[in-house]
Symmetry: C2
Subunit: 235 residues, 2 copies
Amino acid sequence: MGEQRTPGLRAQSAYRALRRAIIEQALKPGMKLPEDSIGEQLGVSRTLVREAFNRLAVEGLVELKPNRGASVAYPTLEEARDVFEVRRGLERLVAENLAGRLTAAQAAELEAHVRQEEKAHGQDGPESIRLSGEFHIKLAEMTGNALLLRYVQESSSRCSLILAIYGRPHSSECAVSEHRQLIEALRAGDAARAAELMDHHLRSVVTRALLTPRVEPDIRAVLAPYALSEGLNPS
Amino acid sequence: MGEQRTPGLRAQSAYRALRRAIIEQALKPGMKLPEDSIGEQLGVSRTLVREAFNRLAVEGLVELKPNRGASVAYPTLEEARDVFEVRRGLERLVAENLAGRLTAAQAAELEAHVRQEEKAHGQDGPESIRLSGEFHIKLAEMTGNALLLRYVQESSSRCSLILAIYGRPHSSECAVSEHRQLIEALRAGDAARAAELMDHHLRSVVTRALLTPRVEPDIRAVLAPYALSEGLNPS
DNA sequence: TGTTCAATAATCGTATACAATACGATCATC
DNA sequence: GATGATCGTATTGTATACGATTATTGAACA
């Protein structure tokens, strides 16, 4: 029963698998996640699936409702706004932290990354989106601040989920030129400018990719004015 | 066996109990946390204790080592630095967000809180520390940004743990006057000044409370120079 | 045809069971 | 007396068991 080769690894694997599946939209927002079938699919018991769900829940990728199980999170527009705002603040911190502190090797790595982005810019497949995201993660890693990295990763993955719901189909999220400018400011050690560039960059990511909600799923709000105009009393 | 009155509540209770016990230092940093004795004490099974541990682990309050169980986290000085830096960034965001947006009721609530702090300032018991912390939580709540609140709460509790290890015994963490100034800037709607005040405030919390490490527990770092001087090769 | 309600099935919440590992004591050896 | 091997016990990792709750189906009824 409890044959444990490398303990905690299977739990971690389950977590990672689910996380990737959600971010890559193999598991779509709102989708139900029954413990048994998922455990069966992953080759682990409900215990470990549950553990994974709990971690994913604190990261905001799954929702956990009492006695009704887990489902892939479906953030509201308001939550989306919140996440983007926090992410902007965090990444501004990254920029300030990195300005002037970038080693030559790090700068080179970032530039190599941007060149890859440029190459993949033509085909706007998932490759381009993945690279854009990784650029920001790389920056957070370079601060050497583990907590900052964790928060940036977390808000990034929530952003992925959000764009999956509210974003236009294949918007290439980041403009490569903006990444280039940012690197330049970091090299120059201009913290204020780097922070400003990062802030502006993330703002434009939102406006480029985010649209107004496609549907208005709140039936009450839709019907309320009609009810009122008829003298009815919507509870 | 599975009699569930209000499901998830017992799990949450276990989590809350442990969390409070850690923050209030009833469970001291580094202390071992055996699953079954804790479960017995709390009146729940290992399953729920484990669930609580996992949540506390992602919050950085407990450490989880494979096959060796959980213990209350014992952050290094470097981690401490990281946490404080992130917290500063987050709370700066809070200040910017709130500047000019504070309702009259909210401002009144904050001022009432500060008056309480002032009253408790004489006796520097745990009461004073708790109130100082709550002021920052209240601010984060008022932004209405749930994610920001969660991050601020998390980094705040980690700060408590850190100060328990590295802080001076009874430093009253926050200067009440600094809280007052901050409220004033928020009312005036001066975002830049509010952010600057918050940043400065948190910096001085660190310098007021944080000391250099009392002991050097890292044997490797101690021995490395000796080894090198003998031509040895410390791994 | 659509609605209500009961029986059944699916799924969750929690406790427990069992294997595997780590820790500590005892004992042999130098 | 210190060092190292061996066994027993405590504790962890994971699976399963079982009561409780929710979802679903189907039949009776309007």
